[in-house]
């Protein structure tokens, strides 16, 4: 290396260093010597900044302020509470007699749809005494009535044609009494031996010839008074249900909608009283206690008498102190119904309550104890205390609307007539016809009948689809199943709108079919084109006042479930 090349190298290095320093914001004059460069490098600004920013809902850059080289830390200040989601709508479309109002629901809910539902009786035969005669008898002769057995008792013989291989249930058999067997007779009233098999409360037969039966029960020491036990027994296709028998079909028409508050407990006010060292009072549902008990004390507070049946949540807000636990219970007068644990569920099976008991052990010190109990339906704990309100609002359906053809009719959860509050119309999707009013004809299939009266109005379905039909004496199925006589007592809609019916092989003529039906037998069917009726002059805006955790009841004569659509605005 020569001296000249070394000088060149140093000059180049100095120039590069100068550039680097200038790139970092420090001015380097051409007269500055290399000896000055360290102080120039020291003057480079390397300070960084910490910044606190608020989160936003759009993209942006966070940059250091003037005088800073960069950011050492960025802090997001707090959480962006998105007010967009403070409320959400909640629509309940269930079929029910009573519905729970969601927790957090705002004051007004919207009645969107109020529908009807038609029910056929699930009870195939009420075995109620004295409507049904009972005999102490183990004979099987038809109409035998001699009274000679103390351990067996049977019903009178009655018409009952079971579907072969179908299981039936005798529900509500009294305790201590059991099903022994079923006697069977054919249409000629001749005994069919061993026609039925039974187990527990269920029975079935493989025979298709049974026309009459009697039921044999076992027990002990039956006497003439024992017959009174035989009430509310029925024959059903499902186990563990009961309803009294009724003819035909019941239409469930809503007469009013009632809104109830969340808190089921209405504790009567009590003026301030001192007893055995404890001063107590009740005011607006709140129990106040104070003092030192001089003996065991049972304090009974009157509540609104009601029947509890199901699961409830017993919610309590309390303040103050007690030196001993205070056991509590619901009672009917002085009879204990259910013990209470604060902020816990209780289960009660159909019991009446009219008092709440608070028991105070002897020598208990109570200091400014405030006790606010609340009872709500269901097992979910409320988030806050609600004072008792009871019935908040009743929205009565106008008589003019209730009088409309089809009001209260419905075939199933998706096919029913209803009030549309938004459109202010009554929508009729379901019509009905008396079975005897149809014109039946025989078909190429023996024992199968058809009717074409409804071809132009009924909603048509494919032959392998089940139409929306309801008949109290026939089970709805596909047209193909009726054609194939898959079982007895069936009805279906054909793909041209016709009705096909098959009852059983004993009904061979149109006249016999007409004789099979009574004046109470109807066929409810879905219309191809729903009928809309303007009811804007009769109904209001459809809002009803509710309370979160409260309930809505859809009043109807039979207290049965009905379809409805209710929308709430719920605080999130």
């Amino acid at each position: 290396m020569s001296i000249a090349s070394e000088i060149t190298r140093l000059q180049t290095a100095k120039s590069n260093i100068k550039t680097s320093i200038e790139n970092k914001g420090v001015v380097v004059s051409s007269s500055d010597k290399l000896d000055d460069y360290p102080s120039l490098i020291d003057s480079i600004n390397i300070s960084t900044q910490e910044k606190v920013v608020n989160p936003q809902n759009y993209t942006r850059e966070i940059t250091p302020d003037v005088g800073y080289r960069g950011l050492s830390k960025v802090v997001l200040d707090g959480v962006l509470v998105d007010a967009h989601d403070s409320y959400t709508s909640n629509t309940d479309s269930s079929v029910a007699y009573t519905k729970s109002v969601p927790s957090g629901a705002l004051k007004y809910a919207s009645l969107d749809k109020l529908g009807g539902m038609s029910y056929k009786c699930l009870n195939l035969k009420d075995l109620n005494y004295p409507t049904m005669s009972y005999y102490r008898n183990n004979l099987t002769d038809f109409n035998a009535t001699s009274d000679n057995s103390t351990t067996r008792i049977r019903t009178e013989s009655f018409a009952f044609k079971p579907t072969s291989n179908k299981t039936y249930y005798l529900n509500n058999i009294p305790s201590g009494i059991s099903l022994i067997g079923i006697g069977a007779f054919n249409s000629n009233q001749e005994i069919i031996s061993s026609a039925f098999t039974s187990s527990g409360n269920s029975f079935s037969t493989t025979s298709s010839n049974v026309e009459y039966i009697f039921i044999l029960f076992g027990g002990s020491n039956f006497d003439s008074n024992t017959k009174t036990l035989f009430t509310q027994i029925g024959i059903f296709e499902s186990n563990n249900i009961y309803e009294p028998y009724f003819e035909g079909i019941r239409d469930t028409a809503i007469t009013s909608v009632k809104s109830y508050g969340a808190n089921l407990l209405n504790i009567s006010d009590v003026a301030e009283t001192t007893y055995l060292g404890i001063t107590y009072k009740v005011q607006n549902g709140v129990i106040y206690l104070n003092g030192l008990s001089q003996n065991e004390i049972s304090l009974y507070f009157t509540i609104n008498e009601q029947t509890l049946n199901g699961t409830y949540y017993y919610y309590v807000e309390a303040s103050g102190t007690t030196s001993n636990t205070l056991p509590k219970a619901f009672r009917k007068e002085t009879t204990n119904v259910v013990n209470l644990t604060d902020n816990n569920t209780i289960s009660v099976l159909n019991r009446i309550v009219n008092r709440i008991l608070i028991y105070i052990p002897n020598a208990t010190t109570i200091t400014n104890y405030t006790y606010k109990p609340m009872l709500v339906s269901g097992s979910t704990a409320p988030t806050t205390y609600y004072p008792y309100r009871g019935l908040i609002e009743t929205k009565t359906i106008p008589a003019e609307v209730q009088a409309l053809t089809g009001y209260g009719w419905g075939v199933n959860d998706t096919c029913y007539n209803y009030i549309d509050y938004e459109a202010k119309k009554f929508i009729q999707k379901v019509a009905r016809v008396k079975a005897k009013d149809l014109t039946f004809n025989t078909t190429s299939v023996s024992n199968m009948f058809s009717a074409s009266d409804l071809n132009s109005v009924i909603k048509i379905v494919a032959n392998n689809e089940t139409a929306n039909l309801l008949c109290n004496v026939l089970t709805t199925t596909t047209a193909n199943s009726v054609y194939g006589k898959s079982t007895t007592n069936i009805i279906g809609v054909v793909n041209n709108g016709g009705i096909w019916i098959y009852v059983n092989d004993n009904i061979t003529t149109v006249q016999e079919l007409y004789n099979y039906f009574t004046d109470n037998d109807y066929i409810y069917y879905e219309l191809a084109t729903p009928i809309e009726t303007d009811i804007s002059s009769y109904i209001d805006d459809g809002y009803i006042e509710v309370e979160g955790n409260g309930s809505l009841t859809f009043d109807n004569t039979y207290e049965q479930a009905v379809p409805s659509e209710i929308t709430y605005l719920v605080e999130v």
Binding site: Y58, T59, D82, A83, H84, D85, S86, Y87, S89, L106, K107, Y108, A109, S110, D112, E422, Y543, T567, Y568, L569
Partner: protein, 74 residues
């Protein structure tokens, strides 16, 4: 928000509280969140696109106020 929710909000006196949600829903009818982020990111390079988007958002705000019966200036 559908018509039922809007009516319920008005009836329950919370129209002002659901106003932001309705505005957001109206904007989302035309612009997805990804569309909005892209437009914002290219705000300087595609100013016409941003102006169109911004005008649309302002329309949505006005429409929401009308739907919720919120008076001007509130």
């Amino acid at each position: 928000m559908d018509k039922k929710e809007i009516e319920l909000a008005i009836k329950n006196g919370v129209a002002d509280k659901v106003y932001p949600k309705l505005v957001r829903d109206l904007i989302n009818e035309k612009y997805s969140i990804y569309d909005e982020l892209a437009i914002q990111r290219q705000r300087d390079t595609k100013p016409l696109e941003f102006e169109e988007y911004n005008n649309y958002c302002e329309q949505c705000k006005q429409e929401a106020k009308e739907l919720l019966n919120i008076k001007k200036g509130e």
